[in-house]
Amino acid sequence: MSSTQKMLMKGNEALAEAAIQAGCHHFFGYPITPQTEVAAYMAKKMPKIGGTYMQAESEIAAINMVYGAASAGVRAMTSSSSPGISLKSEGISYLAGSDLPCLIVNVQRGSPGLGGIQPSQADYWQATRAPGHGDLHVLVFAPSSIQEMVDMVFDAFDLADCYRMPAMILADGMLGQMMEPISFPEKQVKTYDKSGWSTSGHQHKRAHHIVNSLYLQPEELEAKILERFQRYEEVKAKHTRCEEYLMEDAEYVVVAYGATSRIVRSSVNSAREKGIKVGLIRPLTLWPYPYAPIEKAAERGAKAFLSVEMSMGQMVDDVRIAVNGRAPVSFFGRTGGVIPTPAEVLSEIEKMAGGDR
């Protein structure tokens, strides 16, 4: 690992800086542990670059300010943690229903309710199944390191703009609070032509644009949704991402994402040292979900699958869909803010492999 240009930065601050570098100059938020440093960083930086930092009166107000800014055609974002994301869900549905690009960050904490403030992954279902009401998806990125989170912020803004849909970074308290060495990619910020739809002022030179999610004629609404789902299909085909680790000869497969996956990686290494042929499939996007590599492993005859999460078992549903009965799928998780240990995961891998070495 080269230390050139690398610096130590807290996850929340690195994420905020990455967003600014990705051309997002409009942030709307409301404080909540463990993501408050995102907002604090934006509050400090935005005035210096002529951007907008707005501490809204609530999470609901913040997401609707994002709606307004995104309608005007600029890159806009908000960030929160689990309970706050629930409050934003109405706005997320409106953003999706109006084909608006934006970034929503969820630095997850233990829940339901106010829950706790320690790391969690219990918002997987919310992010991938129902980020808001209705027929919709948002892009969901799941970083496992701070560098990856930085890189994903750029991708999230680009894909959101390209496909006119909201993107979410699904992080957790561990990634938000920890420091790791990072560098910012020297990327040219991609710009997308939004002049065909944004409400950026018509100066009486064109018909005015309307950004709206209300369609009272069912046929019209259906056509709108069908068009949107065609775009979703294109996203699925082109932008599903996943990393495979030690999968070439793997007889046993662990699936894990985000902070949990780095713990699992250590456990997979330990299990390999004990002679267990185990590999890791790590989804980098949770929507679209990388079913194919899991299906492939199941078809190839993998003997068993294990999903490890900081929840009571949510992503395991998608692992089961992919495996489709071809092999047993088990689950191990800690919840409420408890982080699984490498030793616990190793013991689950050993259990999955039985006496099979």
């Binding site: 690992m1 130590l8 420091m179 060495p181």
Partner: protein
């Protein structure tokens, strides 16, 4: 991999000392992670910080069984002394912790860091006196590296604090 747990009261500089250690690893091209405890325990109880320095990518940044424990108050000592990995090191501020461990499988060093900081004109730098002792015993980086790391961790406008920070570290190495 070297895993370090620094624990004390909020305000003793636990996070800052941990950051110096992590930056030292970064400067020496190692993988590093720094994870603070965050939450209600930071107000009045123990604050702690996990640091990992490794030549391989770091899995869990959360240190449960440290190779090195730096204990800066009694609640932290009581909570973590039994968690130190066998063969590990505990560096204890004996000005604030009167207890001594009866563990024979770890090396314990009792450093009167708070008293020394007060008597040597280094008030508030007991954290770095203890860091110096860790550097001496665990050799997590070279002294030159640590100096470069301190320069990174001290804000640009407060570079005059580099000297007392380094004096504290060197003092700790000699104790």
């Amino acid at each position: 991999m070297l895993s370090i747990l620094l624990a004390g009261f909020g305000g003793q500089g636990v996070l800052f000392a941990g950051k110096i250690m992590a930056y030292s690893g970064l400067i020496e091209d190692q993988y590093v992670s720094w994870l603070p405890s965050y939450g209600p325990e930071m107000r009045g109880g123990t604050a702690n910080c996990s640091v990992c320095i490794s030549d391989e990518p770091i899995g869990s940044p959360l240190v449960l069984n440290p190779d090195v424990l730096v204990a800066m108050n009694l609640p932290s000592y009581d909570k973590f002394i039994d968690k130190v990995a066998p063969g590990g090191i505990a560096v204890v501020d004996s000005s604030l912790i009167a207890k001594k461990s009866d563990r024979t499988d770890i090396s314990c060093f009792y450093v009167p860091a708070t008293e020394k900081a007060d008597s040597e004109g280094l008030k508030g730098l007991s954290n770095n006196i203890l860091l110096g002792k860790v550097l001496q015993e665990a050799k997590f980086a070279s002294l030159e590296t640590v100096e470069a790391a301190v320069a990174k961790c001290v804000p640009p406008k407060k570079q005059h604090l580099l000297e007392p920070n380094m004096r504290a570290i060197k003092l700790g190495m000699s104790l």
